[in-house]
């Protein structure tokens, strides 16, 4: 099962490597990992997407909680949550047909073209991982020049929140 674990941790040197090291040392899987400081500069928030059986996910959360730098964490998948990922895609957009088609496709997926040259579109898109996958599948392989994805980040729905 895919799980999204959201972590508040001390914004200290080496904290990221403790988490990454834990995953490799215990043979846990990391699908994506994002991290940035929060509104409280002493804290960072990390989002890890991982896969594993219920038992493995329980161990992952327990082992993470054991890290001294980890202040609090939550498995977002325990209840309703919103997940978003940012993707930037560079496509070859030459000729009127292609340019119109990619613009329309970006519109359908609620993306934006954020950089334009006479031969290139750079499209920005946010959404769940599935949506981004679908967008990529809709583009012809030959057009795809470069893809960069941020990895998922997420937040719980409603009242539930991860705060110190």
């Amino acid at each position: 099962m895919r799980h999204i674990i959201s972590i508040l941790m001390e914004n200290e040197a080496g904290a990221l490597s403790r988490v990454a090291g834990l995953f490799s040392a215990r043979n846990y899987n990391i699908e994506s990992l994002t991290v940035a400081p929060t509104d409280d500069p002493s804290l960072s928030r990390m989002t890890i997407v991982t896969r594993g059986s219920e038992h493995v996910i329980e161990q992952i959360t327990k082992q993470l909680n054991k890290l001294i730098d980890v202040v609090k964490l939550v498995d977002l998948c325990e209840a309703g949550y919103i997940e978003r990922e940012l993707m930037l895609v560079k496509v070859r957009a030459e000729g009127n047909d292609a340019r119109t088609e990619y613009k329309r496709l970006a519109d359908i997926f609620r993306g934006q073209i954020i950089d334009v040259t006479d031969r290139i579109y750079t499209i920005e898109l946010t959404g769940t991982g599935d949506k981004l996958d679908a967008f990529l599948a809709a583009l012809p392989d030959t057009a795809l020049l470069e893809v960069v994805r941020s990895g998922s980040t997420g937040i719980a729905r409603g009242e539930r929140s991860l705060k110190v």
């Binding site: 080496g14 490597s17 082992q63 054991k66 001294i68």
Partner: protein, 592 residues
């Protein structure tokens, strides 16, 4: 594993009337250690820690022990910690100083031993430049410490040290490394120093008290058992929970076994004690595990050497598990009633709950259960064939037990001798049996014995070892001479790496690949060249006399080189991947 061995610092000895004494980083470290109540620092100097060594010079509150290799410093501090419950303190230099210490840090980590390791680092401006003796100490030690720190400024030094001691000694204890760049200890940069009395970490609050609901559930289950079994581990020792354990177990009248790490928490000579369990555990302990209907696990972590094949582990049992580390619960084996908390606190609450419930264990079922256990006991799984010609290694441990009245501190290395020591020396007190259980570190025994002897100057300390292990830290014989440590080294010399040889005999059709050592030193002359007493014992009739003579030499280290049976194996044995009920007994016992 469990443990809340809170260590109490001495009162602040810093002269209160002098408010504005300014100290350098090196002086802050020494003053802090005094204020923290540290007696011994085990270490080895080098470039990056010279300022600290200069601050240590000429003061007598902190005794620095100069080892001969940094690995030994960590093991000595570890032995000190295991035998006292107080944190062991290590001081090493940067680069090779700290890499040499890593084996000892990992050893302490696996067995949850509180250590504070201070390592020198190159000066801040040089970090990352591949400077002389630079290594990423925080990175290298990260997977084998409870936590580690790099000190960024002289100003934060005292606070970081306080956090290090606090983290190392509370909750599930463990080693903490503090990496200190040389310029942080610059003697020319002096600042105000105040001993930080308190420490607060918003992200670290170990649970000590068990949840009342869980305790009630556990008590109900425990009292409903027909075939109960109690399985205890190192957490009982670490948390100083022996008294509470004995009270509860005697009250219940249930059988009890222990892991290698928990030996001594419950008296080894008590009739309710079934001996050690696991790969080389007793027949009765392993069979009782297999057949029990309620298993009560206390401060133990279901290690693979204990459980055998998980598929066959306690198939009929509901399991209660007390541990201070939530991550140890349901890690390898799913448990039915988890209780997070410190062993003595939870056990005391359970005993109270039992008394208040007015319920009694099912005495009738228990009597039948004991009858069954006594049948298993009658197998006498630890009996071995005696000999008048060749020294049986087991007999040396039995003689050691008799000569020391069962009251010595016994350290060991790793291998067959370690298992025999665990099987045949009946520990009645906690913190007497000092060995590397989790990591299985050869070379642990002698330096650990040094730490024990420093902590208990008048006590009898024996290091049970083999000719393989002892050579991994033999250089410490020199340290022992310098500090006059009267350790008795009991070397079970079978000219083989015995446990390797045993596995090769059983599982590799006797292909003894690299388990035989040629060109062993003459240990008697080796001991003598280090200034100690050496004895070589070759006949069974001389074993006990030699040990008696050795312990009569109260102020001398004695190296007893026992030439033992080369072919002896450790029994009983559960092969890796087999269940508790699939034990091999010794060939003679199988026939019995």
């Amino acid at each position: 594993m469990s443990g809340a061995a809170l260590h109490r610092p001495r009162s602040n000895e810093f002269p209160k009337e002098i408010d504005n004494v300014k100290l350098s980083g090196g002086e802050i470290i020494v003053q802090f250690l005094k204020d923290e109540g540290v007696e011994y620092v085990f270490g080895y100097p080098g470039g990056a820690v010279l300022h600290i060594y200069d601050a240590l010079y000429g003061q007598e509150d902190i005794r620095h022990v100069l080892v001969r290799h940094e690995q030994a410093a960590t093991h000595a501090a570890d032995g000190y910690a295991r035998s006292t419950g107080k944190p062991g303190v290590v001081l090493v230099t940067s680069g090779p100083g700290v890499t040499n210490a890593v084996t000892g840090i990992a050893t302490a980590h696996m067995d949850s031993i509180p250590l504070v390791v201070l390592s020198g680092q190159v000066p801040r401006p040089y970090i990352g430049s591949d400077a002389f003796q630079e290594v990423d100490a925080v990175g290298i030690t990260r997977p084998c410490v409870k936590h580690n720190f790099m000190v960024r400024s002289t100003e934060e030094l005292a606070e970081v040290l306080k956090k290090a001691f606090y983290i190392a000694t509370t909750g599930r204890p463990g080693p903490v490394l503090v990496d200190i760049p040389k310029d942080v200890t610059d003697p020319n940069y002096k600042i105000d120093y105040v001993y930080p009395e308190k420490v607060s970490l918003r992200s670290y609050n170990p649970t000590v008290k068990g949840h009342p609901k869980q305790i009630k559930k556990a008590v109900d289950l425990l009292l409903s058992a027909k075939r109960p079994m109690i399985y205890t581990g190192g957490g009982v020792v670490l948390s100083d929970g022996a008294k509470e354990l004995v009270d509860l177990v005697r009250k219940l009248g249930y059988p009890i076994t222990s892991t290698l790490m928990g030996l001594g928490a419950y008296p080894g000579t008590d009739p309710q004690f079934l001996g050690m369990l696991g790969m080389h555990g007793t027949y009765e302990a392993n069979m009782a595990m297999h057949e029990c209907d309620v298993l009560f696990a206390v401060g133990a972590r279901f290690d693979d050497r204990v459980t055998g094949n998980i598929e066959h582990f306690c198939p009929a049992a509901k399991i209660i598990h007390i541990d201070i580390d939530p991550a140890s619960i349901s890690k390898n084996v799913q448990v039915d009633v988890p209780i997070v908390g410190s062993v003595p606190v939870v056990l005391a609450d359970m005993l109270k709950a039992i008394e208040q419930s007015g319920r009694e264990p099912d005495r009738e079922a228990l009597a039948k259960w004991w009858e069954q256990i006594d049948q298993w006991r009658a197998k006498q799984c630890l009996a071995y064939r005696k000999s008048d010609e060749v020294i049986k290694p087991q007999s040396v441990i039995e003689a050691l037990y008799r000569v020391t009245g069962g009251d010595a501190f016994v350290t060991s290395d790793v291998g067959q001798h370690q298992m025999w020591a665990a099987q045949y020396y009946k520990f009645d007190k906690p913190r007497r049996w000092i060995n590397s259980g989790g990591l299985g570190t050869m070379g642990f025994g002698l330096p650990a014995a040094m730490g024990v002897q420093f902590a208990h100057p008048g006590a009898r300390v024996a290091c049970v070892t083999g000719e393989g292990s002892i050579q991994m830290n033999i250089q410490e014989l020199s340290t022992c001479l310098q500090y006059g440590l009267p350790i008795k080294i009991v070397n079970l010399n079978n000219r083989y790496l015995g446990m390797v040889r045993q596995w090769q005999e059983f599982f590799y059709e006797g292909r003894y690949s690299m388990s035989y050592m040629e060109s062993l030193p003459d240990f008697v002359r080796l001991a003598e060249s280090y200034g100690h007493v050496g004895m070589r014992i070759e006949r069974p009739a001389d074993v006990e006399g030699a040990l008696e003579e050795a312990f009569r030499l109260k102020d001398r280290l004695v190296f007893l080189d026992f030439i033992t049976d080369q072919t002896e194996n450790v029994y009983p044995m559960i092969e890796a991947g087999k269940g508790h009920h699939e034990m091999h007994l010794s060939p003679e016992r199988e026939l019995a």
